[in-house]
Structures are given as C-alpha cells and as structure tokens.
Symmetry: D2
Subunit: 340 residues, 4 copies
C-alpha cells in the first residue's frame, strides 16, 4: 500500500503505478480528497522488491499482508496447536509448568533441584548445559557432562527435558537428551540454527529476541516450521526498554497479541526480566492470568550458591507455593496444568 | 559515587576530591586493584551540584541516595498506606475496582454506564470531563457540563468519582465533584499542577508518563506529598517501546518494583496499553495477579458509539464477568475488593 | 484504512462498511487474493470516531491522512518558513547559533557568559529563569530576577533572548523579555501552555518530548499555529532509549524527517543528550552536517561552578573554536550563520 | 558495589559482607548518614557470582569494573588502533569510505557499481553474498557465485572487499575473498561465529546489535580480540527505538562514547537507519562530523532495480557529490580519507 504525498503530481503517481506493474503486481488506485493511495496486489515477495520509500511523491509505504504463513492462526483455521511432549500437553486448555535450574552445575545440584520441582508439580525440567554469556571470561556451561546429568535427572523424575542449543556443532549431542530444544533470545535470528532445528523435527521453544517485535518472532518461527517441524512454542521473556529498575520489561501484552495471530502455544519466562527472585512469583502469576500456555521458571535447590543468575533463581522451598497459586489462577482462566 | 577511569592520575583524583569538598560533601576514597571510587557523602542537593561527568580521569558517576523521601517505604517504616475514599479502602489488602467511560458524553450514556458498573461491582466511577487530545481539532470534553453529569452519577450510584484535571484554571470546578483527581500521563511532570493538587489535599491518582521511569514517577509524587497531601495513588498505564503491535507496553513489573520502594498504593490502567477491548480482560487479570492495589478500566454502555477511544472500552455487558474473575484472582494473592 | 483478517467473513466486512458509513465516511473496498482492505474516506475527525481495533474480522487499522495541517510542508506549497527574530533569520539557508548558560545564576555569570558568546559569534542568547526540575528540592530558577538579568544581557550584547516558560501565570513576565519562548520537552503536550503562547504571537521554540514521535511534535506545534502564531521552531534534544551510556539518544534522523514534512525550522540541542561537555562539540557539528537550521548550546563562563547541569555546559573559552567549525560545516551544506 | 536499603539492619549488612568474602572478594564498607554501601573488591568473575539482587536489606547492585579488557582504551595506553587493510588505513586521523551495493546481484551490476564507487573516491568495496533475511521466503544471496564476483570486482578496481559471513560453514569460502569480514547486527552475539573469526585473524567489521548497548558491543568485540585478532572495527548502524518515522534511530552519540572507551576504529553505516536514499547523505555527513573513522554506504548503479533494500541505496550518480562533501567535513574535524 503506497501512500502518496498530498500534492503528488500525476506524473509521480503514474511512475509509481509503472513500478508496481514492473515487478508483476497489479496497482489498485484510490483517490481521496487529499491524497492518493496505491495498493500493490500480488505476492509478498514481489511487493518487497518495490522499495519505493523516498521516491518522489511517495509519502510512505504500509505493508498489508502478513509476511508469515505457517505460523498464522488462519493456517490452522483458527484452532490452537496442542503439542504433546513426553505425555504432557501444551496449548489449548493445557498449561505447562517448566522449572529447573538456570545451569547444570553438578550431579547433586541437578538431581536435588529436579526432584524438588517434580514433587512440587512441575511438568517439564529445564537446565542449561551450554550457556550464552556476554563475557568470554564467564563460565560457559558444563557441555556434554551437563547433558549427561540432564539425562540422569530425566530418568529419576520422568520429566521431559528443556535445554538450550547454541552452536550447530552440538546439535547431535543435544538431540540425544532434549525433549524440547530451547533457542535463546540472542539466537532468535540465527537462521542456520533455526533451519537445522526445523529439520530435526524436535519440539522447539523459541525465545523472543530482546528487541524483537511480535511479528519478527513469528517470522523466526517460520524458519523452523518451513522445514516441516510443527512443534514450536514461542516464549516471551522480557524486552529491552529505557527502564533500568529491572533487567528487562516483561511484555505480557504479547501473550494475547501472539495468540490472536498464531496457533502456536505461548510460554512466558518470568525469571529473566525481574532478574531477582522476589519478583518472580508476581510475574509468574501475571503470566498465567494473561493467558499464557505455560511458564518456564528458574528454580534451584540452593540459589545463593548458584554459579550464574543466582539472584533470579527461586529456591525449591518456595516453588511449591508458587506452583499451587499457578494452578488456582489457571483454573480462573480456564486452563489445567497438564501432567503425565 | 564517582568512578574514576583505570589509569586516572593522582592529580585527577586529588582534583575530584577537592571538588567534592568544595560543595560541602566529604570524600570517601576506595582504591581497588584497577580503579578508584570516590564516595561523596553529604546531602543529595549538594551532590547534584557536583556534575563531574566528563571531568578528566572520571569514568562515570553513580547516584546512590534515593532522590525522594516522603514517597519512600522507609518513610512509613515499611508499612503500606491505606487510603480511604468515600468509604472504600485502597492499599494493603484492599483492592479498588475503578470503572466507567473514557469520556462523559451525555446524560444517558453517563448514567447508564455508571449504574451498570456499580451493579457489576465497581468500587469507584471514572469519567473524563476534560480530555487531553493529541490533535487540537479533536473533541476536548464536555467541561463543566461533564462535571455536573458526574455529580449526578455519583448521587445515583453512591460511587466516588475519579476524574482528570488538565488545566489549573479548572481546579475549583473539579474539586466540587472529584473524590480523586486524576493526573494524566502527559502531565506527570507538570509541576505547577502537581503542587496545586498537593495543596488541595484531595486524593490524587498520578499516572506514569509514557516514558517515565519508576523513579521519576516517585519523584513526581513527591511534588504532591511535599505540600502535605498524603493521599496519592500511583498508576501504571503502559510505556512507550519499539513494539507497534499495541499502543503501549503494559509494564507490570513496575507493580512489585514500585511496591518495594514506596508505601503508596499502585493502580494499573489495563485499557490504554492494548487500545482494544478484547485484550483488556487479559491485562486486568494479569494486573491483579501481579499484586496491584486496584485497576481502572474503561467501560461504556455502548462502546461502538463512543466519541473517543471506542475501541478500548469494554461493554458493560462484559464487565460483570471481568469483575468476577478479578475477585477470584485477588483472593489468590490475598486481597479483597473493598466496597462501602 | 481498515485491514481485514485473512478469512474475514462477508458479514464481518459488511458490518465494517456499515460502521464506516454511519460516521459519515464513504467506504472504498479493495479485495486482494488473501485479504480485503477498506478505505474510510472522509475527514480525519470522523475517521477517529471509528475505533474499529479488535472488531470481529478486523486485523488492524492504518491511519493514512496526516493529522496536522498548518505545520505541513504542503501548507506552504513546499517552501521553507524563514523566521526573523531581532534581525537574525532562521530557516532556509539561514543558520541560528543560540548559546548561553543553562540557568541565570547571578549578574556576573550572566553578563560574562553573554558577552563571550556574543563575541564568539552566537546569534541569540539562551538562559533559564524558570527551571523544570525532577526534584521539588532542587533550585527552581531565579524567576523574575532572572528575567531582569536577561534583559540586561540583551541590552549589553544586542542578542535576542531565548528563555523558557513553565507556568502560564508567568506568561506576562516572560513576554516582557523573551524574543523566543522556549517550551521544554516535559511541556510539549501541555496544551493550555501551547495555546496561550500561540495567542501571544511571540516566536516559540518547541522542544520534542523525550519520547515523542516526529508526528507528535508536529501535532503539538499545531496547537500553537492554530492560534495564528506562525513563528514556531521545532527542536530535537534527544530521546529516551535503552542506552545508558548517555542521558538521551540524540536523534539526528529527525532533522531530515521533520524537514520533509514541515516548513518550520528545525533546531538541535546538542547539550542535553550527552550530558557532558566533551561530547557537545561532536554533536553540534553532526547537527549542522545533518541539515539543522540552528543549534542551541549550553555555554557558561565557569561551568565547574554552575548551579545546574554543570557537566554539560561548554566553557566560553572553548566556544569560539566550536563556533568556527560550525560555520565551516554549515558552508559545506549550503547554510550561513545569520547575524544582524 | 552493593547499595543497602536505608534502614538495613546490622544482621543484613553482616550477611552481605559474609557473602562477599565467601566468593573470595574483600568487602569495603562505607557507612553514610542514610545508607551503607559495600564494595566487593576482587576480580570481576568473582563479583558476578555474587548475584545479591533482592537479598534482604539490599537495595541494588552497581557494577563498577568494566567487563572488557582488550578492547579498552587503557589496554593501548590511550592510543588509537590504526588498521591497515589492502593499503588503506583506518583509525586515528585516517578515514575509510566504504561503498558498494547491498547485495551482489549479477556481474554487470557488481562491476558497474564497483567501478563507479572507485572512481568517486571510495576506499573499500562492500557487497553481500550471503544475506540475513527476516523472511525465509526472501532472496538469500548468490552465495559462492557472489563471492566470485566480488573477487572479480576487486581485481578490476583494486579496492579491498568487505563482505558478511552468516554461517560458520561458509568461513573458508569467505576467507578466500574478504579483506574485511562483516558481522551483521543480528549476529553480534553469535559467540561461536565471533570466536572463529577471531581465530582467522582477518579484519572484522562488527555491527552493533539493534538493541545492544555500547558496552555489549565492546564485550562482543572482546570475543574476537581474545583469540588474538586485533583487527576489529566497530560499527554503529542504528538502534531500535519507539520512533517509526524511520527504520532505526542512528545513534551518533555512540561515536564519541565508543571512542572514549576503546582504541578500536568506529565506523558508521548511514544507510540502514533511514531506509531511504534521500536521507543517506545527511546521515553520512553527520557521521563524519561526529568523529567517525569511516562510513559504509550502500551505493548501486541502478537502485530502482535492486533486489533488496532498493529504497536505501544511493545511485552511483549521486555518490561523487557525497564523497566530496565527506572529504570537506573530514578536513574540518582533522581527518583525511585514506587511499592506497
């Protein structure tokens, strides 16, 4: 949709129409009292070649068609996708309560945390073996040893495992253990990573980049879906704003906005935005009330001794109360925590 | 707290210490392995005169002391302020459900909306007689006639009135009717308005500016409190971010962050950020779950015919269900809707 | 322009058309392969009443017509407004170099600073008698005494005076002295202030709010222009973003973007965004190169002793070099500093 | 630096000191009138394990030490790094004028564009063989064929080649041709990519992520520098803000801010932020005036027919004038365009 300036000349309008037709679109002209609007009707890729911003007489361009297809709610005729992961459902009326430590640190920590969250009602177990760190001098995760401990924790608790993949060269190792592959915020637009996870067919939890729009998150999911992998969950985890009173601004409006546009389940990470554990319950409950299909919470058996993100990990001793309130609020909004 | 650069010279350090002492502060020097940090101890106003950013050898300045006093939780020894407005309490375990139309349009609309929200459980009635409009060509509110209709609606329903003041010249008229004077986001830093409302002693609902920090909101409240008016409620209403899928990003993390710093009640406006009514319930419930002390919702008896903000006003027919879910979630987080 | 969802039903489309016609607009329907777009043609105020966001079948709304009229470049048939202030021109090929201290502090400081900037080539003198302060406990300006000193500085140097008005109750006092009334960023949407300055007819320098869009700045100027006052300059002064390495992010792209849309001169304030004097020259020169019609720089005869914003005030001793580079770069982009 | 709350108890203070000492730091306590500040002195990694946010009595944490080392200006004792690339210098008083098309499209386009920019005074040639695209359905670049055409253009013009690497699997192919490997904004935190480019030793142009802070950009460069590759240039290319009048907000304050902190050259990309060619000259000149060490401009021999980003590519016919103004402004700020 090309909006012409007030006072655009007939030549300028004719030139734009010519450009529209050159790329194989048809031009649909509406003349209003003040200004003329030209619709370019054709497929999206053709539109994109137009690039008419700044052309004489053109005021601005408004893209109309959604750039994503497979992720759109229309693609499923308005229905919700319901994923099944290790016997737990996610989506529709099914709520997922994912919990576990930020990082796998050692056997005792991992197993103690895993058992506690399982007993308190978690439906999946999270834990990082590979950690993206801002500093090259920080602890980068236990790697394969971490994956091995996650496998052991899964055996003990029966909980499906959610763990992050950072580097394609570790894909096979991660596929040996992960029920859900997490794609971190910094990799949301790492397209080769997305495509390979798409090809693997393994369920994916795709985190929103820290300044990604709702539409860009959907576009990124399209890279996975396009390879035939329909098992994608989207995850709001806080965006970057001017506010410095917390690490990120948790954007819960993204929950209804995403659910309107897509059939994919929407998960919320209530831990990273506050960056401190005493605000995690508040954001967990708000996420449930906002209509999320699940939350993924950092829980640690002894957070004061955690190697990374100690401040934001909820102690296992507090997680039972949180889990119970999550269930109560889920009930108010018509959802049930889905257990095996 | 002045952080010197690595490699700052002794002369540069001595010069900073001299400047600190010149303004009447005492300098407290900590030398670490890599760098030196100089604390300027004294009262805040003296610190502010320092302005050492960019001085040779200085890396950056970190303000330490809070710039607000009366709004701080310490000022009430950690307790919550509980306001009493027309027999309804706000704060502590008391939840306020404020509802009503965006704008007073005419007698029928105002009375019909007022009665409906009263019956559905609202505890206060909102309605605008003066409207801040981005365009000078838009409807600017009914003014005094609007205030008169609010008075009539109050008489009919018994609900206390929340209404906005835009211009000091209308203060006396607004004081005739308002139980709570609303200060809109665009006026959060209109200091003469804040001071006069402070002097009036009337309860105030101070909305966060659309790019104000949590700290700036508290500073603005200080302008009211300083005049001896303790009846201030703060209101999160969405901040401006890069996301264009909604009008504003509702920042619910501000709720626990504010409640940690201040004794004042924290209200959430769930209507303006979505800008469309089908997302208002989701944000209302999320606000309750996040720990807000109240919400202020736009509700209209026939929103499709509303003069302004039609899209975001919830029809009175849907408000009863919303009100009932609000009560259920309030109970989960230990609060009760406070009625007369 | 109402964009319907893919898969919107015929009923939904018919309902939207009905709503468009109800408010007195005519509906212009374009059916594409995937989706239908409905143009509402009529005057802007009617469109605004539509508020169809969230209506069944509606995906989103795209406003097309500009909401401002008098500020638009079309209103002057594409020409630039050239203001004449105390014999200096601003706009077109004429560049304004406004300089002076942040705040009027005392007679010696004001006169010394004024003479220095005059000798170094400034074309107008700035200085604040009323200061908007985040904290109610900070120095709020000398008030009338400050205005008196500005008058004296004008008499000495012949430079026109730029000074800020904060509160309508001080309008007459400010009009006695000011050649240009500055409206600060926090008051950009203080509509009663804008309207009264509009009525006064005095040239106005309207600063962009710290999270105002280019369009909102133009809308705010419309409040002044609408009262018959054509002497408006717009001022970019830095916007609020996530970056904390400086106080604000100076948005120099606003310069060509504004100049495309409006005939009004565009000024840049290079002092507040850096917040420290050693980056002010860099931003001053960048503003000139970007095509600004003027800059307004904080310059102080002894900045280390300044009462407020000491860090960002350039010493008069450095201002001559800055002024000379400004002239050189102005010449490269086809402008001349306009002196009496 | 741990800032305790006003009113923190002695027990709370003692507990924090104990935690600081447990991780191997020493605690340095400053008691002010209102509050206590505890400095944790030790190496940065130890500090990070502390994670005391939200601990009882703690108000907030202020990191003091810079997290980067090799990128810091102190590391070079305050000097500027001057890179030498194919006989052209970048850094110090040497300015780099990089230009060329967004994407390599075909032989004619590439060679025509290359010759034109060379004749007009460009010092390096840019062109993309691999393109990061938001949509999986968009053109992804010519790949190896694009690299081959770049090699041919280099042979014809003698200009060093700047081209982007997206996927580690293409590293060897890119190393065959590139004099400078560009790392795009979306990959700024793709740590395995950074480390491998570090190991390659090839000069790198690292673009700032679209919501990365100045500090995060420096941290990302550290991943390259740490592998022994000192040839890193940083590139400001516009950040994401709330403003929608342009694609990104070009943040020219990042230029002096980066140059204060690092010895590495700072380049500006003036093309992506405007997203339209008629604003590129304005931003190019502003970048030079702001003190950048180079700019990288998209220039195309026939931009209306460009496959991607057509709107923002400057026609070669306009580039000569731009190049000439760049030289004039560079001279004003003490720099010279460095040619072979």
């Amino acid at each position: 949709m090309i909006v012409m300036k007030e006072g655009a000349t007939e030549e300028e309008i004719a030139h734009v129409i010519e450009r529209v037709e050159q790329v194989g679109c048809s031009a649909h002209v509406s003349k209003g009292e003040l200004l003329t609007v030209i619709g370019a009707i054709g497929d999206r890729d053709k539109d994109q070649q137009l690039s008419l911003e700044g052309t004489p007489g053109v005021d601005h361009i408004v893209p109309i068609a959604k750039p994503y297809k497979l992720a759109s709610r229309q693609f499923k005729d308005g229905a919700d996708s319901v994923l099944e992961i290790g016997g737990r459902k996610v989506g529709g009326a099914n709520f997922a309560l994912m919990a576990g430590p930020c990082t796998v640190e050692n056997r005792d920590q991992m197993l103690a945390s895993a058992k506690s969250v399982a007993e308190a009602g978690a439906t999946m177990l999270r834990g990082g073996a590979y950690k993206p760190r801002t500093s090259p001098y920080s602890f980068q995760g236990l790697g394969r040893e971490g994956l091995r401990l996650l496998a052991e924790a899964k055996e003990e608790t029966g909980l499906p495992i959610v763990t992050e993949l950072l580097d394609l060269r570790d894909l096979d190792d991660v596929l040996d253990v992960a029920d859900v592959i997490q794609i971190g915020a910094r990799n949301m637009q790492n397209y080769s990573l997305l495509a390979e996870i798409g090809k693997s067919g393994r369920p994916a939890l795709l985190k929103r980049g820290l300044s990604a729009t709702v539409e860009e998150l959907l576009m990124a999911s399209e890279y996975i879906l396009k390879e035939g992998n329909e098992n994608v969950m989207l995850c709001e985890r806080g965006i970057r704003t001017y506010e410095t009173a917390y690490r990120f601004t948790l954007d819960l409006l993204a929950v209804p906005a995403l659910k309107e546009q897509t059939h994919l389940p929407v998960i919320v990470d209530p831990s990273h935005a506050p960056g401190r554990r005493d605000w995690v319950e508040s954001m967990s409950l708000a996420a449930v009330a906002a209509g999320a299909d699940g939350i993924i919470v950092e829980v640690h058996n002894d957070p004061d001794k955690a190697i990374c993100d100690a401040a934001q990990q909820v102690p296992t001793s507090d997680f039972r109360a949180l889990s119970s309130k999550v269930e109560s609020i889920a009930a108010v909004v018509g959802k049930t925590v889905s257990r095996a």
